[in-house]
């Protein structure tokens, strides 16, 4: 190759590409069984995940546990508290979430502060935001959220729990929607034993997940090593 041609070729390509485009995307740490659902082996930092179905809470706890255990703080924004349920810290702890790095804020949907403002304020200090049944978000609010999420490299997990007697609302568009269906239970029978875990089929769909992916996992996952009060069954 002639020198002039080389120079021209090199000069023409100078300055192309940013490190952000070139460096491998930052993958959020999740259990390997859940990571198998994602093309990169886990969700990308700055993404929105949604957990739905009868095991939504268990799945969400399993997804966030490794990040919080690694030092990230988690914020739970509980929008549904006024009319339904609240998260039980003991279950989070059993899933491996260190409770000392968990903060919960209960949002009043009738109040003047929009839930998106809470999420954005939370992203200033929390790496993981668990958003419980937030309802629908406007396009502008979602764009604001996404900009901030990408800036912070944080993760938002939207939990849309299956609740008796209530329809599940569709919320913000997620990068990945993980739907759960229970295919079996362990430990419990007709009048004997106790519920130890559930075998859950998780179906993921969303961006870059063409055709959907499925994985069967056990929730709660005993391998997470969560800390809980001593077992003292009657």
């Amino acid at each position: 190759m002639g020198s002039d041609a080389v120079l021209a070729a090199l000069a023409g390509t100078a300055g192309v590409g940013r490190a952000g485009d070139l460096v491998a995307p930052e993958i959020v740490r999740v259990p390997s069984s859940v990571g198998a659902l994602f093309p990169h082996g886990g969700p990308l930092a700055g993404s929105v995940l949604a957990c739905e179905g009868p095991a939504a809470w268990s799945l969400a706890a399993a997804v966030v546990a490794p990040s919080v255990a690694a030092g990230t703080w988690m914020l739970i924004i509980d929008v549904a508290t006024a009319h339904a349920c609240t998260v039980e810290p003991e279950a989070l702890s059993e899933a491996g979430v260190p409770l000392e790095r968990v903060v919960r804020v209960t949002a009043d949907t009738a109040g003047s502060v929009h839930v998106i403002d809470l999420v954005i304020a939370g992203l200033e200090g929390f790496g993981v935001v668990l958003l419980v049944d937030p309802g629908s978000l406007t396009g502008a609010a979602e764009r604001r959220l996404r900009r901030r999420l990408v800036d912070r490299g944080a993760m938002v997990v939207v939990v849309r729990p299956h609740q008796l007697g209530r329809r599940v609302t569709r919320g913000a568009a997620a990068d990945a929607v993980m739907s759960t269906s229970v295919i079996g239970v362990d430990g419990i029978g007709e009048g004997w034993g106790r519920l130890m875990s559930r075998r859950v089929m998780v179906s993921a769909s969303g961006r870059r997940m063409h055709g959907g992916r499925h994985v069967e996992i056990s929730l709660p996952d005993e391998s997470t090593g969560g800390v809980s009060a001593p077992d003292t069954w009657p």
Binding site: M1, S3, V6, E88, P89, V102, G127, L164, A229
Partner: protein
């Protein structure tokens, strides 16, 4: 890899353009560059109007309303600064790039060649730099010291004094007079540490050296030990001209040679990721690196990069890109395709984590979370921002309570951990793991019936009158597939407010599982395995 300590005869020269970020973009026009609404650089006209670094955006724009406020463009800063680096590299062999507008070079050899440090400085300021610095950029601050830290402090003082500042070789009094607040400005000490030390009367490096190595190390850990080394002129960081023999390195060769920068950067990216993940870097972070390119005509480009806070893979690839970009754009510098790229780690530091603080206390992430919690409290009210606290108990929803974060969050992680650690003995009769992960704010009343519609009753001996078959809730009926229990519990049997209830686990046909409780023959859902 153990970096060599600075020798007493080490002489480092810092060239620093404090307002490079603004002046390379706007030159002689009034301009201010902000970061997080604080001034980080301003051109001379803006400074003349009263704008200073650290000022809030509102105040700065009020002082100089006509100023441009361009967004910070790090790529452009480095592209403009490449000519300055090239000119310096022509003068001295070892140049460490700290940032755009900030370099450190080993001046010992050039001083011997040119006849003294003063002549090197004069040559730099009067002959070399004016030819390559864009119009409108203020003259640089120039400082000479025996270590990176004192050299940076000398440059800081030079910026204030308006003339080069030189640390006299062999004179410890100058070093002893370096204030910790100056080291905060140069990034060698964090502000909190300096604040703590100043409150106990340690304000200058002389005070630190007077305390002694053992006292500093015992009381302030690795930060104290490092400060003591700085105070006696034993800065472990050195310019990259001195590459340790056992330095971790990666080399990539290209066959055929590459006439495109993009694949070179890609290859460097892969190499850097491998390098930082290598066992040699276990527990350490890269703070200095040497990046070198070669062509098939044996041309090479070699540059050292340094960053106190550490060079991540992204930061290293950024530097590869900046260096390659500048080399390719330099007229006559490259006449053939690229054949090699090498990345050598020349300096490392213990990976103590950005979040760790004095005595292992709360770190930056903890502080940020606490600030964010306070901000949320201001938005929704402090009572609505809560943290979990272990209370103990047998019943679901009672074992942990959500208490206001403002009162319960501590400044000490150990106390926070104690807050959520189950203790206070065993609780016989409590629900074993897994605990329900969703608890109704108020128990949801349900009817539990047998196959023939008979209400299920728990007898005095803890037995059921019939097998649970359906659960009716708000007009809907759910079929019970699996069930276990009942498990009776009597609380405070010795008190008038005693409670006697029984719990039952049920799994519905839709896969949902719940914990039911019956008290005074009234069933309710007290928890859900959601």
């Amino acid at each position: 890899m153990t970096p060599p300590a600075t020798s007493p005869s080490c002489r480092l020269l810092t060239v620093w353009f404090p307002d490079w970020a603004a002046e390379c973009l706007a030159g002689n026009d009034p301009a201010i560059v902000f970061h997080r609404d604080r001034v980080i650089a301003a051109t001379a006209p803006a400074r003349a109007a009263g704008v200073v670094v650290g000022q809030r955006r509102r105040m700065a724009t009020a002082r100089c309303p006509s100023a441009l406020t361009p967004s910070r463009d790090i790529d452009t800063e480095h592209r403009c600064f490449a000519a300055v680096i090239d000119a310096l590299c022509d003068l001295v062999p070892g140049v460490d790039v700290i940032d755009a507008g900030h370099v450190v070079l080993d001046v010992k050899g050039p001083a011997q060649y040119f006849g003294g440090e003063a002549r090197v400085i004069t040559r730099l300021v009067e002959q070399v730099l004016p030819g390559v610095v864009p119009a409108g950029v203020s003259p640089p601050a120039v400082g000479v010291g025996t270590s990176l830290a004192t050299s940076a402090v000398a440059a800081l003082r030079s910026h204030r004094a308006g003339h080069p500042v030189v640390e006299p070789p062999g004179d410890t009094r100058w070093r002893d007079g370096v204030q910790l607040i100056e080291l905060v400005a140069t990034g060698d000490v964090d502000a909190d540490t300096a604040d703590v030390l100043s409150r106990v009367g340690v304000r200058a490096l002389g005070d630190v050296s007077a305390l002694g190595a053992a006292a500093m190390s015992d009381r302030f850990g690795h930060i104290g030990a490092r400060l003591y080394r700085l105070s006696v002129g034993d800065d472990p960081r050195r310019p990259v001209i001195h590459v340790p023999a056992d330095a971790p390195a990666v080399h990539r060769s290209f066959e055929p040679p590459l006439a495109d920068t993009t694949p070179v950067i890609f290859a460097a990216r892969e190499a850097v990721i491998d390098l930082l993940a290598s066992p040699a870097m276990h527990g350490r972070i890269c703070t200095g690196a040497l990046i070198e390119f070669g062509t098939e005509h044996a041309e090479s480009n070699r540059r050292g990069w340094f960053r106190n806070e550490g060079l991540t893979s992204t930061a290293l690839v950024d530097r590869v890109r900046w260096q390659l970009d500048a080399w390719v754009r330099r007229p006559g510098a490259i006449t053939a395709a690229i054949t090699t790229v090498s990345v050598i780690i020349t300096d490392t530091a213990d990976d103590v984590g950005a979040s760790q603080r004095l005595w292992g206390g709360r770190g930056t992430t903890d502080d940020a979370a606490q600030r964010a919690a306070a901000r949320l409290g201001a938005l929704v009210g402090p009572d609505r921002v809560t943290v979990p606290e272990w209370c103990g108990g047998r019943l679901t929803g009672q074992r942990f309570a959500w208490v206001p974060a403002a009162a319960a969050m501590h400044a000490d992680p150990d106390l926070d951990r104690a807050r959520v650690t189950p203790g206070g003995g065993l609780w016989p009769g409590a629900v074993v793991r897994p605990a329900p992960n969703s608890v109704p704010v108020h128990p949801v009343a349900v009817e539990v019936c047998g196959a023939d519609g008979t209400p299920v009753i728990v007898g005095g001996r803890g037995d059921l009158n019939t097998t649970p078959a359906t659960v009716r809730l708000a007009g809907s009926e759910h079929v019970v597939v699996w069930w276990a229990g009942p498990w009776p519990v009597t609380e405070r049997w010795w008190e008038p407010r005693r409670r006697r209830l029984a719990r039952l686990q049920v799994v519905f046909d839709d896969g949902t599982a719940h914990l039911l409780a019956v008290e005074r023959r009234r069933w309710s859902i007290v928890g859900s395995y959601a």
